[in-house]
């Protein structure tokens, strides 16, 4: 039941959507909807990092004790994915990193665990990040539906903007949609079974129970954030629960983003919070081999965390892929010959990657204590004043930059030619050579404003090589 001793809930939120869309206008795309698709250099880890950094804007990282990463598509099966997210988001060494996986409810499972950790006192603040990029089988019923993206929620007990009132969950074993070890694509059973014996039966039970025991009815909910496998089922659920579609229900992003898997429910919640007002009562309900539901009450603190990098701005910032083939190449569905014959890129060294963690993943440079000049990569001797070992760490990942010079390299190996190479100057000082991603080649110019983005450079022998690239500032 409700009635927690102290206020626990959401203290910040963030989201990330990839820049590219499949949609009307994409040659070879037959659906009417748009679907957010991760770039060739993105995966669940990189999108999670982007959402985490957005969520942490203005917050002190040393005050966060745990990071929970939820995804059904973690790049590593054995080796923590949460740790990579934690380090790239520049959380402290003393962070408990945990992976929540294998379930479309992984995001809300992590939310419940985060609330319990704060309630239990093992952490004051937990950063929860959910990200997914499920690859639908080409031309399957899932292809017009699945989208890629990430959402982050900061859970704490101080300056709570969205207070938890109660939550409830059930387990329900059934094979409705599944992906076994080794399966490339999601499989499904007959949809009448999947929907009628599963989704439309279980989720209403859980929501009713939660509302009943809090002596609430559907009329008392300001906004219902409801997971659904697709747009049609979402409308059926709204009708069944008696919510008014126009005023009471969070728009489910099916026409613009798609179902983002484990990130979907947290992402819709983040979208709802962008427009929430103090006093609003929000219902969050998620589904997958059971269901869970949460009741939240929005507080005055919501005004302090109006996040400009929420779902809304990312929905608007997009590029429609010109053709389906590009997407298919990016996902490895077509093994297309590269534009130029190039040597294979060598496998990175895990021992060197380990040694360079601060530089490559945290994206730390140094700032000279004597002359104040920021430099990347970190130096032992200051480039400007030649002071030795008199530096403090300096995080470049959240600094904006501008193009100083660039080239459009058609020889450089990339799945998105040409390779845009650039020299960039950071606001506040510092310069580096950087690969530019998610750019419109015709619009690259000297002085163009940039932000940094965590990306996968390449993979070889099971090693994913992550590093930071620059990109034009997303609106």
């Amino acid at each position: 039941m409700g009635g927690t001793q102290m206020a626990i809930g959401i203290t910040s939120y963030g989201a990330y959507l990839p820049w590219h869309r499949l949609g009307p206008g994409t040659n070879g795309w037959t659906a009417r909807t748009e679907r957010a698709v991760a770039s060739f250099d993105e995966d669940s880890i990189t999108m999670a990092v982007a959402a985490a950094v957005n969520c942490l804007d203005g917050f002190h990282r040393q005050d966060i004790q745990a990071l929970y990463f939820a995804s059904t598509t973690p790049p590593y099966k054995e080796k923590s994915n949460a740790t990579t997210v934690s380090v790239a988001a520049d959380l402290p060494f003393e962070t408990l990193s945990m992976d929540f996986s294998d379930s479309l409810r992984a995001g809300t499972a992590a939310l419940q665990a985060a609330i319990d950790a704060v309630k239990g006192g093992s952490a004051k603040q937990v950063l929860l990040v959910a990200a997914d990029m499920r690859v639908p089988q080409p031309r399957s019923e899932f292809e017009p539906v699945f989208g890629d993206g990430a959402a982050a929620l900061l859970i704490g007990n101080s300056k709570v903007a969205v207070q938890l009132e109660d939550s409830y969950a059930v387990s329900h074993e059934m094979l409705d949609v599944w992906r076994a070890d080794g399966d490339a694509f999601v499989r499904t059973w007959e949809d009448r079974f999947v929907i009628e014996e599963g989704y439309l039966k279980i989720l209403p039970q859980v929501i009713s129970k939660l509302l009943d025991r809090n002596k609430l009815s559907s009329k008392d909910i300001t906004k219902a954030v409801l997971y659904a496998p697709d747009s049609r089922r979402h409308r059926e659920m709204v009708r069944k629960l008696g919510f008014d579609l126009e005023t009471q229900v969070q728009e489910p992003l099916f026409s613009t983003v798609g179902n983002t898997g484990a990130a979907f429910a947290p992402m819709m919640l983040a979208a709802a919070l962008e427009k929430a007002k103090a006093g609003d009562r929000i219902l969050l309900a998620n589904y997958g081999n059971g269901a869970d539901a949460f009741l939240f009450r929005v507080t005055e603190e919501i005004e302090a965390i109006r996040n400009s990098r929420g779902v809304g701005s990312y929905v608007e910032s997009k590029r429609i892929l010109p053709d389906y083939e590009t997407y298919a190449v990016w996902r490895g569905l077509i093994d297309k010959a590269p534009p130029t014959r190039r040597p294979p890129i060598r496998t990175p060294s895990p021992s060197a990657m380990h040694r360079e963690e601060s530089k490559n993943l945290r994206f730390h440079g140094i700032k000279c204590k004597r002359c104040g000049y920021p430099q990347y990569p970190p130096q032992r001797v200051c480039t400007r004043c030649h002071a030795k070992d008199e530096f403090e760490d300096y995080r470049f990942s959240d600094k904006k930059a501008k193009v100083f010079t660039y080239a459009l390299d058609r020889l450089g190996p990339t799945l998105d030619p040409p390779l845009v190479v650039s020299v960039i100057d950071f606001d506040g000082g510092g310069r580096m050579f950087s690969i530019m991603t998610d750019r419109d080649v015709d619009k690259v110019e000297i002085g163009m404003p940039l932000e940094m983005t965590f990306r996968k450079f390449h993979s070889s022998e099971g090693i994913h090589n992550y590093y930071w690239k620059c990109m034009p500032v997303r609106a």
Binding site: P343, R346, T405, R410
Partner: protein
């Protein structure tokens, strides 16, 4: 008090293979061919060589690491052999090692030979240009996609922006540079690329790395070149027309250019620094008036343009005027890339620095055939390795 290398060492023999895609020649074939021409030119025998310096850049193809392919191919009689590697300035580094050894008095006669066999890898461009491998282990993950054309194209963008050249004007200036070298290449039977290419052809060529197109990039070639050096006071015992070393300087990047926002990406600081040091060593006060010819490192056309300013020939931002006026053409005031340059003679990395000296050596001796200049006295070689903000530049000056 340090002394200079000026007039302490003389070159008494040189050889150079044809450069190109030499599918039928092994690295050993190239070594033996360059060596044979050099020894016949010097008129000495193998037993006269007291030490050797070998320049070769890549170690996973060509002759591998170390020196034994080289020493065993030539059957050198257990003399000291040293391998040098300094990016694309490797050839000059080999010559520098041999010259310093002779200048020190340790040896009277030394061999310098540079060789590179690039065309056994199955793709165009430099074999490691998918991974320039300038940063050792680190390059495997932070800059795996860097290419040489991309790195130099950024200097073209930077130069055009700094001096207000439109892409059209900038590319046309660069096109004149490449077209000039193509003309010179037609006059050289040893050159890799021997065909006239018009300014319009250069302008219309496919883009490799915008703003640089195909003809803004030099040839990737196999080849070898070599020199025999001796003490200056012994040189005339071997031949009446030895060529004397006036300066051999190398500058390496300090990190300022890459990391510091003051660098304008419209010049190469190491070229400027090595040029100043070489002119001082050679006693040259006004290079624009004193130099007879140059062979500079035109791996990309933009690099040649900026060199004219960095080497003090043209004022900053105004090399275009000299290019437009034909100042560096074969009939100009200071002809450059008379043998075709890297652009058309080709660029077998370890051999290029010695190939530059070979052309000036032949010109000074009046043996350059159809491209012979009128009465040259002193020439400059500029041999550069790396990318504009992180590189080594070797500047050599040789004269009568």
């Amino acid at each position: 008090m340090a002394e200079s290398i000026k007039d302490k060492v003389a070159i008494i023999g040189m050889g150079c293979t044809k450069f190109g895609e030499l599918w039928d020649k092994s690295p050993e074939d190239l070594i033996i061919e360059a060596y044979k021409e050099t020894m016949e030119d010097a008129g000495i025998e193998k037993k006269d060589i007291q030490a050797a310096w070998l320049g070769s850049h890549l170690d996973d193809i060509s002759i591998g690491r170390g020196v034994i392919i080289f020493s065993m191919a030539l059957k050198l009689p257990f003399i000291p052999v040293t391998r040098t590697e300094n990016f694309c300035a490797t050839g000059t580094e080999a010559l520098r090692g041999a010259c310093y050894a002779v200048a020190s008095g340790a040896y009277d006669i030394a061999l310098a030979l540079g060789v590179e066999k690039l065309k056994d890898v199955g793709y165009a461009g430099l074999p490691e240009s998918g991974n320039l491998n300038m940063e050792g282990t680190l390059g495997r993950f932070t800059t795996p996609a860097r290419t040489a054309p991309g790195a130099y194209a950024m200097m073209a963008t930077g130069y055009f922006a700094k001096y207000g050249l439109s892409p059209e004007d900038g590319k046309r200036t660069l096109a004149k540079i490449s077209s000039k070298s193509h003309h010179n290449g037609t006059l050289n039977p040893k050159a890799h690329l021997r065909r006239e290419v018009s300014v319009e052809d250069v302008m219309k060529a496919p883009i490799i790395a915008w703003p640089l197109g195909l003809y803004d990039c030099c040839g990737v070639s196999d080849g070898a070149a070599a020199a025999i050096v001796t003490r200056a006071d012994m040189a005339k015992n071997f031949r009446p027309d030895p060529v004397y070393v006036k300066a051999l300087q190398i500058a390496a990047s300090s990190g300022e250019e890459l990391l510091y926002t003051d660098y304008d990406y419209a010049h190469v600081e190491t070229t400027y620094r090595a040029g100043i040091a070489a002119y001082r060593e050679a006693g040259i006060k006004n290079p624009r008036e004193e130099l007879s010819m140059m062979e500079t490192h035109d791996c990309f056309s933009i690099n040649e343009l900026t060199q004219y300013e960095d080497l003090g020939i043209s004022p900053r931002g105004r090399a275009k005027e000299d290019v437009d006026a034909g100042f560096f053409n074969i009939d100009g005031k200071i002809p450059n890339e008379v043998d075709g340059g890297l652009k058309c003679f080709g660029h077998p990395i370890g051999a290029s620095g010695l190939r530059m000296v070979y052309e000036i050596y032949k010109q000074l001796q009046g043996k350059a055939g159809p491209r012979q200049l009128k009465d040259p006295k002193i020439g400059l070689t500029h041999n550069m390795g790396g990318t504009p903000p992180s590189c080594v530049v070797a500047v050599g000056i040789v004269g009568l």
